[in-house]
Protein backbone atom coordinates (compact mmCIF):
# COMPACT_ATOMS: atom_id res chain seq x y z
CA UNK A 1 0.00 0.00 0.00
CA UNK A 2 1.30 3.40 -0.95
CA UNK A 3 1.42 6.51 1.20
CA UNK A 4 -1.61 8.79 1.44
CA UNK A 5 -1.44 12.34 2.75
CA UNK A 6 -4.08 14.95 3.45
CA UNK A 7 -3.92 18.19 5.40
CA UNK A 8 -6.53 20.37 7.05
CA UNK A 9 -6.44 23.43 9.27
CA UNK A 10 -8.10 23.31 12.65
CA UNK A 11 -8.66 26.12 15.13
CA UNK A 12 -8.30 24.98 18.70
CA UNK A 13 -8.08 26.62 22.12
CA UNK A 14 -4.30 26.80 21.74
CA UNK A 15 -4.48 28.46 18.31
CA UNK A 16 -4.45 27.30 14.70
CA UNK A 17 -3.08 23.85 13.97
CA UNK A 18 -2.43 22.00 10.73
CA UNK A 19 -3.41 18.35 10.88
CA UNK A 20 -1.53 16.06 8.49
CA UNK A 21 -3.35 12.76 8.12
CA UNK A 22 -0.97 10.02 6.99
CA UNK A 23 -2.05 6.61 5.73
CA UNK A 24 -0.30 3.53 4.35
CA UNK A 25 3.40 2.73 4.59
CA UNK A 26 6.16 5.18 5.45
CA UNK A 27 9.41 3.64 4.29
CA UNK A 28 12.55 4.42 2.31
CA UNK A 29 10.47 4.78 -0.88
CA UNK A 30 7.54 6.86 0.40
CA UNK A 31 9.20 8.91 3.17
CA UNK A 32 10.46 11.59 0.71
CA UNK A 33 6.79 12.44 -0.08
CA UNK A 34 6.09 13.02 3.60
CA UNK A 35 9.27 15.09 3.89
CA UNK A 36 8.17 17.27 0.95
CA UNK A 37 4.75 17.80 2.52
CA UNK A 38 6.20 18.85 5.89
CA UNK A 39 8.77 21.16 4.27
CA UNK A 40 6.04 22.75 2.14
CA UNK A 41 3.81 23.37 5.16
CA UNK A 42 6.62 25.02 7.12
CA UNK A 43 7.64 27.10 4.10
CA UNK A 44 4.02 28.26 3.82
CA UNK A 45 4.03 29.37 7.44
CA UNK A 46 2.37 26.45 9.22
CA UNK A 47 4.51 26.01 12.31
CA UNK A 48 2.15 24.02 14.54
CA UNK A 49 1.65 20.58 13.08
CA UNK A 50 -0.29 17.54 14.25
CA UNK A 51 0.65 14.37 12.38
CA UNK A 52 -2.17 11.85 12.63
CA UNK A 53 -0.64 8.38 12.23
CA UNK A 54 -3.70 6.28 12.93
CA UNK A 55 -3.87 5.16 9.30
CA UNK A 56 -0.18 4.18 9.11
CA UNK A 57 0.43 0.47 8.53
CA UNK A 58 4.20 0.54 8.52
CA UNK A 59 6.88 2.94 9.75
CA UNK A 60 10.65 2.51 9.56
CA UNK A 61 13.67 4.56 10.54
CA UNK A 62 13.52 6.59 7.32
CA UNK A 63 10.05 7.73 8.39
CA UNK A 64 11.33 8.53 11.87
CA UNK A 65 14.09 10.60 10.27
CA UNK A 66 11.52 12.62 8.33
CA UNK A 67 9.47 13.28 11.48
CA UNK A 68 12.60 14.38 13.37
CA UNK A 69 13.46 16.65 10.41
CA UNK A 70 9.96 18.13 10.56
CA UNK A 71 10.31 18.75 14.28
CA UNK A 72 13.63 20.53 13.70
CA UNK A 73 12.03 22.79 11.09
CA UNK A 74 9.01 23.83 13.17
CA UNK A 75 11.17 24.40 16.23
CA UNK A 76 13.27 26.85 14.22
CA UNK A 77 10.06 28.92 14.11
CA UNK A 78 9.11 28.21 17.73
CA UNK A 79 6.45 25.83 16.46
CA UNK A 80 5.41 22.33 17.48
CA UNK A 81 4.97 18.89 16.00
CA UNK A 82 2.66 16.49 17.79
CA UNK A 83 1.82 12.95 16.86
CA UNK A 84 -1.44 11.04 17.17
CA UNK A 85 -0.94 7.31 17.48
CA UNK A 86 -2.56 4.44 19.36
CA UNK A 87 -1.10 1.52 17.43
CA UNK A 88 1.22 -0.58 19.53
CA UNK A 89 3.32 -1.75 16.54
CA UNK A 90 4.08 1.90 15.61
CA UNK A 91 4.53 3.13 19.20
CA UNK A 92 7.07 0.36 19.76
CA UNK A 93 9.39 1.88 17.15
CA UNK A 94 9.28 5.25 18.91
CA UNK A 95 10.07 3.53 22.21
CA UNK A 96 12.99 1.48 20.84
CA UNK A 97 14.63 4.59 19.44
CA UNK A 98 13.93 6.74 22.50
CA UNK A 99 11.83 9.14 20.41
CA UNK A 100 8.90 8.99 22.84
CA UNK A 101 10.94 11.55 24.80
CA UNK A 102 11.24 13.76 21.73
CA UNK A 103 7.70 13.76 20.36
CA UNK A 104 4.54 14.47 22.30
CA UNK A 105 2.29 11.51 21.37
CA UNK A 106 -1.46 11.86 21.81
CA UNK A 107 -4.36 9.42 21.60
CA UNK A 108 -6.73 11.68 19.64
CA UNK A 109 -6.42 14.56 17.17
CA UNK A 110 -8.64 16.67 19.45
CA UNK A 111 -6.27 16.18 22.36
CA UNK A 112 -3.24 17.05 20.20
CA UNK A 113 -4.90 20.17 18.79
CA UNK A 114 -5.85 21.38 22.29
CA UNK A 115 -2.44 20.67 23.82
CA UNK A 116 -0.04 23.40 24.87
CA UNK A 117 3.53 23.04 26.08
Amino acid sequence: MDLSLSTRNVSGPAGDRTVVEVGGEIDVYTAPKLREQLVELVNDGSYHLVVDMEGVDFLDSTGLGVLVGGLKRVRAHEGSLRLVCNQERILKIFRITGLTKVFPIHTTVEEAVAATD
Partner: protein
Protein backbone atom coordinates in the same frame (compact mmCIF):
# COMPACT_ATOMS: atom_id res chain seq x y z
CA UNK B 1 20.85 -24.15 1.29
CA UNK B 2 18.71 -21.04 1.33
CA UNK B 3 14.98 -21.59 1.42
CA UNK B 4 14.40 -18.48 -0.65
CA UNK B 5 16.97 -16.12 -2.11
CA UNK B 6 16.09 -12.72 -3.46
CA UNK B 7 18.17 -10.26 -5.43
CA UNK B 8 16.87 -6.83 -6.27
CA UNK B 9 18.34 -3.76 -7.90
CA UNK B 10 19.20 -1.11 -5.32
CA UNK B 11 16.01 0.95 -5.70
CA UNK B 12 13.91 2.06 -2.71
CA UNK B 13 10.67 0.81 -4.28
CA UNK B 14 11.86 -2.80 -4.10
CA UNK B 15 12.41 -2.77 -0.33
CA UNK B 16 8.68 -3.30 0.17
CA UNK B 17 8.85 -6.42 -2.00
CA UNK B 18 11.67 -7.76 0.17
CA UNK B 19 9.59 -7.11 3.31
CA UNK B 20 6.59 -8.94 1.89
CA UNK B 21 8.64 -11.93 0.74
CA UNK B 22 10.51 -12.17 4.05
CA UNK B 23 7.30 -12.05 6.08
CA UNK B 24 5.67 -14.70 3.89
CA UNK B 25 8.64 -17.08 4.14
CA UNK B 26 8.96 -16.45 7.90
CA UNK B 27 5.29 -17.26 8.43
CA UNK B 28 5.70 -20.49 6.48
CA UNK B 29 8.80 -21.36 8.49
CA UNK B 30 6.76 -21.17 11.69
CA UNK B 31 7.85 -17.82 13.10
CA UNK B 32 5.25 -16.68 15.62
CA UNK B 33 2.58 -14.35 14.20
CA UNK B 34 3.31 -11.82 16.93
CA UNK B 35 6.93 -11.58 15.77
CA UNK B 36 6.21 -11.18 12.05
CA UNK B 37 5.93 -7.39 12.40
CA UNK B 38 9.45 -7.39 13.81
CA UNK B 39 10.74 -9.55 10.95
CA UNK B 40 9.11 -7.21 8.44
CA UNK B 41 10.57 -4.11 10.06
CA UNK B 42 14.05 -5.55 10.60
CA UNK B 43 14.43 -6.85 7.04
CA UNK B 44 13.11 -3.52 5.74
CA UNK B 45 15.70 -1.63 7.77
CA UNK B 46 18.51 -3.89 6.61
CA UNK B 47 17.45 -3.60 2.95
CA UNK B 48 16.99 0.19 3.16
CA UNK B 49 20.49 0.43 4.57
CA UNK B 50 21.93 -1.74 1.80
CA UNK B 51 20.07 0.23 -0.90
CA UNK B 52 21.39 3.49 0.56
CA UNK B 53 24.95 2.15 0.65
CA UNK B 54 24.81 0.89 -2.95
CA UNK B 55 23.35 4.14 -4.22
CA UNK B 56 25.74 6.41 -2.36
CA UNK B 57 28.69 4.39 -3.65
CA UNK B 58 27.42 4.05 -7.21
CA UNK B 59 27.27 0.26 -7.02
CA UNK B 60 25.03 -1.25 -9.68
CA UNK B 61 25.08 -4.80 -8.28
CA UNK B 62 21.84 -6.02 -6.67
CA UNK B 63 21.15 -6.25 -2.94
CA UNK B 64 20.97 -9.87 -1.78
CA UNK B 65 18.49 -11.28 0.75
CA UNK B 66 18.87 -14.89 1.86
CA UNK B 67 16.03 -16.44 3.86
CA UNK B 68 16.78 -19.76 5.50
CA UNK B 69 14.48 -22.06 7.40
CA UNK B 70 16.83 -24.00 9.66
CA UNK B 71 16.09 -26.43 12.43
CA UNK B 72 14.33 -24.36 15.13
CA UNK B 73 15.42 -21.02 13.67
CA UNK B 74 14.61 -18.80 10.76
CA UNK B 75 17.47 -16.63 9.57
CA UNK B 76 17.76 -13.70 7.23
CA UNK B 77 20.96 -12.38 5.70
CA UNK B 78 21.00 -9.07 3.89
CA UNK B 79 24.19 -8.48 1.95
CA UNK B 80 25.58 -5.37 0.31
CA UNK B 81 28.65 -5.06 -1.87
CA UNK B 82 30.19 -2.02 -0.24
CA UNK B 83 33.68 -2.90 1.04
CA UNK B 84 34.48 -2.36 4.70
CA UNK B 85 36.26 0.86 5.67
CA UNK B 86 40.00 0.49 5.45
CA UNK B 87 39.92 -2.02 2.60
CA UNK B 88 40.42 -1.16 -1.07
CA UNK B 89 37.65 1.09 -2.33
CA UNK B 90 36.57 1.72 1.22
CA UNK B 91 33.39 3.56 2.22
CA UNK B 92 35.36 6.56 3.47
CA UNK B 93 37.51 6.85 0.37
CA UNK B 94 34.67 6.63 -2.12
CA UNK B 95 32.32 9.04 -0.30
CA UNK B 96 32.22 12.53 -1.73
CA UNK B 97 31.69 14.09 1.71
CA UNK B 98 29.26 16.88 2.53
CA UNK B 99 25.87 17.22 4.16
CA UNK B 100 24.06 14.62 2.05
CA UNK B 101 26.50 11.91 3.11
CA UNK B 102 26.17 12.91 6.76
CA UNK B 103 22.37 12.62 6.48
CA UNK B 104 22.68 9.20 4.88
CA UNK B 105 25.05 8.05 7.61
CA UNK B 106 22.63 9.27 10.27
CA UNK B 107 19.75 7.27 8.79
CA UNK B 108 22.06 4.30 8.40
CA UNK B 109 22.81 4.35 12.14
CA UNK B 110 19.18 4.80 13.06
CA UNK B 111 18.30 1.76 10.93
CA UNK B 112 20.88 -0.35 12.75
CA UNK B 113 19.61 0.99 16.08
CA UNK B 114 16.09 -0.16 15.22
CA UNK B 115 17.31 -3.62 14.15
CA UNK B 116 19.37 -4.11 17.29
CA UNK B 117 16.39 -3.01 19.38
CA UNK B 118 14.10 -5.47 17.62
CA UNK B 119 16.23 -8.55 17.10
CA UNK B 120 17.96 -10.38 19.94
CA UNK B 121 20.11 -12.42 17.63
CA UNK B 122 21.77 -10.19 15.07
CA UNK B 123 25.28 -9.59 13.86
CA UNK B 124 26.82 -7.13 11.43
CA UNK B 125 29.96 -8.07 9.58
CA UNK B 126 31.94 -6.33 6.90
CA UNK B 127 34.76 -7.48 4.68
CA UNK B 128 36.41 -6.13 1.54
CA UNK B 129 33.72 -8.03 -0.40
CA UNK B 130 30.87 -6.16 1.31
CA UNK B 131 28.73 -6.12 4.42
CA UNK B 132 26.22 -8.61 5.79
CA UNK B 133 23.53 -8.22 8.43
CA UNK B 134 22.47 -11.56 9.81
CA UNK B 135 19.37 -11.91 11.96
CA UNK B 136 17.51 -14.92 13.27
CA UNK B 137 14.33 -15.78 15.09
CA UNK B 138 13.14 -18.97 16.76
CA UNK B 139 10.47 -21.00 14.98
CA UNK B 140 7.67 -22.92 16.62
CA UNK B 141 7.88 -26.70 16.29
CA UNK B 142 5.86 -27.81 13.31
CA UNK B 143 3.16 -30.26 14.29
CA UNK B 144 3.11 -33.35 12.11
CA UNK B 145 -0.30 -34.19 10.77
CA UNK B 146 -1.41 -37.79 11.30
Amino acid sequence: MATVELRFSAQPEHVRTARLVAAAVARRAGVDEAVLDEVRLAVGEACSRAVGLHRSHGITAPVRVVLTDEDKTFSIEVGDEVPAPGSDGSRAASGSGGAADEDADGEDEMGLAVISGLVDDMEVSSTDEGGVIRMSWPTAPVSVLP
